[in-house]
Amino acid sequence: MTMRLAFGFSLAAAALAALAFAPFYVGPYQVGLLIGLAGYVTLSSAWALFSGPTRYVSLATVAFFGIGAYTVAALNEILPYPLVLLAAAGVGLGIALIVGLSTLRLAGVYFVIFTFGLAELVRQLVTWYEVNVTGTLGRYIFMSFGPEEIYWQLLALMAATLFVSWCIGRSRLGLALKIIGDDEVVAAHCGIDIARTKLALFALSAVIITLVGAIQAPRWTYIEPGIVFNPTVSFLTLIMALLGGANRLWGPALGAVPLFLLFEWLSANFPDHYSIILGLLFIAIVFILPGGVLAFVERALAHSKRVTGNAERVREPGTAEARQ
């Protein structure tokens, strides 16, 4: 077991190192792609951190993402950069706590719609504020560093997110989340403080998402609400996590990489068909891959084992949860 663990960690470290050196060998366009990839892997992993085990489908991703970007836009000329990031994280945390405290008792469709409405409300308010109070719709962000630095920051955040997610998966907190996802009544009777657990995870996930927005903001140079509060970010994050499997450590990353590349290609070649493909993907996931690709593969493996008459007991498809 520890052997496997050490092997896994070395492999992850090697992959991370390779990714970190990548900008030295590729052109600016590829660095741009890498930024997008690292961004969406982080977003979908952070999304799954909360939404995977609790099954709360959140569409507030872009609300926090945009808040991060706007904090940077508002503060980048006033504070040194590390403090700007810290401020963004702080704003994200504060809003996440307020939203979480007031909404986590909503479940199912009410939560979905609330989070969607929240993102729209934030966008409308920021737009109104910019137009009526500051008098300009957009803001400029000038930073002294280039896309490589943005990429490295995102890569570090991505690694941290995956590591945190791995730790949580093995911790008491991770078990608590699985129990809550299964049956809240049992969770409470086991002594779990449901509200606090959900709030902690929601806040953690929101802070990471806010940071992704903050780190990516300088990429745009010019931002306005329509750009950074684009609801597509929420939808993409959601569909990436679901495609890979929101209950697996590597699931969201596995969904994010191909989908990001696919949508990048689509928006370059078939911009008009973008949303049709996105829609078909949603439908395909619901009907063909309800637990994500990883669960599908596991089920297929389990099935082939059963067929070959392996005596080992296999887990029931659909309900089985992988232990990473």
Partner: protein, 242 residues
């Protein structure tokens, strides 16, 4: 000796319906007490208020002299109340072992990792599920799911164990095993409060019984006396038989 559980004037109203109406009784340490009554008499509601699943509309519940009514279910669980549910509630996406670890990790013992796994194995053995820890909980048979639910309740090492028709739906062999299991728990000093319809089990297990009808307590005493009480017979069978 002071009572482990004191219930005073406990009341629950659902809109216009008073499901539990001013019920009071005590349970001493080490007792096994039955809660009887026809369907709809408010038994499960009483259990739900003790475990914190439902807030009481009036009255008070004290455990070990401390007020627990008004606390959230997770707080009450940590103070040593564990329960099973009328419709068995296991955690279907977890393994059998993790179902038990669930109670160990967040209860008053807060065990984790090795210690939790060892303890979970002991609990599983206690209910006859030894060697089944790695199975998927959803794949268990009905009786095994009931066993698992009991193992989870026991894992918390509760000072008060609430069983809601835990014996219902078992076949005669399973029933005998089930009764023996609860009797063992009582022998080991655990206080058990059970809602039950299986009269054989009540006679075998409960030295004392509380009977409810239409939300009120109508009898409380040694089980033999209570079951012969004309008021209780009337509540169960109607006036003609009294």
């Amino acid at each position: 000796m002071s009572a482990l559980l004191e219930i005073r004037d406990l009341t629950k109203r659902f809109g216009g319906l008073t499901a539990v109406n001013g019920v009071s009784f005590d349970i001493s340490r080490g007792e096994t007490v039955g809660l009887l009554g026809p369907n709809g008499s408010g038994k499960t509601t009483v259990l739900n208020m003790i475990s914190g699943l439902l807030p009481a509309s009036g009255g008070a519940i004290h455990l070990n002299g401390e007020k627990i009514s008004g606390l959230a279910a997770n707080r009450i669980a940590r103070r040593g109340v564990a329960r099973t549910f009328q419709l068995v509630r296991i955690l279907p996406s977890l393994s059998v072992e993790d179902n038990v670890v669930a109670a160990l990790a967040f209860g008053k013992k807060r065990l984790w990792d090795r210690a939790a796994r060892d303890d979970a194995l002991t609990c599983l053995e206690r209910v006859g599920l030894q060697g089944r820890g790695s199975e998927n909980a959803a794949d268990l048979t009905y009786i095994d799911q009931k066993r698992l639910e009991l193992a989870r309740a026991l894992a918390a090492e509760p000072s008060l164990l609430l069983l809601d028709e835990w014996l219902a739906g078992l076949n005669p062999t399973e029933l005998r095993i089930g009764i023996d299991l609860i009797a063992d728990l009582n022998d080991s000093g655990m206080t058990v409060f059970l809602v039950e319809h299986v009269m054989d089990a009540i006679r075998a297990l409960c030295g004392r019984s509380v009977v409810m009808n239409a939300g009120m307590k109508i009898a409380d005493g040694p089980t033999g006396d209570v079951l012969g009480d004309p008021g209780v017979v009337r509540a169960y069978l109607g006036d003609a038989h009294a």
